[in-house]
């Protein structure tokens, strides 16, 4: 059986919009190998960098926040970003689990 455990993230996005915040939805659209969160997982980010929800187990959220702020600043409607396996010796963002994910960013407008 399939039960999407609903995180009410879109409802929260709507609340943020009502507070006149600029909101970007970040959604996991593809995964390869072992990824921490399934396709459809989502987080929201506002222009200040506040965020809610998740697209991984905390591995790439900070990079997603940066990208979302950039999207708002450049006033772009959408963007696709991919994350791959991290290099553990370097201080870079990546997925420690060895998987890959594609995250789609889109502004609510």
């Amino acid at each position: 059986m399939k039960n999407s455990f609903d995180e009410k993230i879109l409802e929260e996005a709507h609340d943020w919009v009502k507070l006149n915040q600029k909101v970007v939805l970040a959604t996991v659209i593809q995964t390869w190998g072992s990824s921490p969160r399934p396709t459809g997982s989502r987080m929201i980010v506002n222009e200040k960098g506040d965020f809610s929800g998740s697209v991984s187990g905390g591995c790439v959220e900070s990079a997603v926040v940066r990208e979302c702020i950039g999207l708002i600043k450049d006033n772009k409607p959408c963007k696709k970003i991919e994350f791959k396996v991290s290099n553990e010796s370097a201080w870079e963002v990546g997925l420690a689990c060895g998987g890959e994910i594609a995250v789609y960013l889109e502004q609510v407008n």
Binding site: M1, K2, L10, Q30, T39, P77, Y104, E106, Q107
Partner: protein, 227 residues
Amino acid sequence: MKLQTLRSIIEKKKNKSEFAIITNLSTGESEIFEKDKPLSKEMETHSNQIKEFFKSKKNGVIENTEIFVETYVLPIKVIVVGAVHIAQYLVDFAKSLNFEISIIDPRGYFASEQRFPDMKIINKWPNEAFKEIDTNENTALVALTHDPKIDDPALQHALKKKFYYIGALGSKKTHENRCQRLKEAGFSDEQINLIHGPIGIKLGGRSAPEIALSIIAQLVSETYNKK
């Protein structure tokens, strides 16, 4: 995503309808797909694949395209019989899960709005109450009164309707007696064995919130276990 689309998604979720969001990843345009409703011209060419995702309740990008499909499924119905102390914690734990809970209890003092704010409470005997709820094999039953007068009719209904999860509170002895009664009522051992009794996974605790947690854990585990 347009604010208007976001609003109608939230509205559709509230109204418990099944739908999918179709997004063109290159343009950022999105629309809502519903069974028997026409798609836009652009998406119409992908309608077979979209329907396939919708039918299998999956999310993903349609192969060789820039079209992302995200399906929204209905929450699972959980019928709690017995508006008892454990039920109060159960409802609390279930809040962040996609369960649609209805509480049945013919005893007015138990099934009060004050004890269960914002919950669907049916203050009737199970046989009457089940006339108001559409149930099927995607429904779960949590029987908590351990009073045969109240629990038994609900258990019988759940067995007949093939609920995917049936749990009943009570000691081993209580459960043995319950099984005996169900047997006398004409249910087979095979059917009776489907009942989780005593209810919940073994956590060790005996307080109301601990029992509620063990029930929720079993319910979630069974939700993913079958089919």
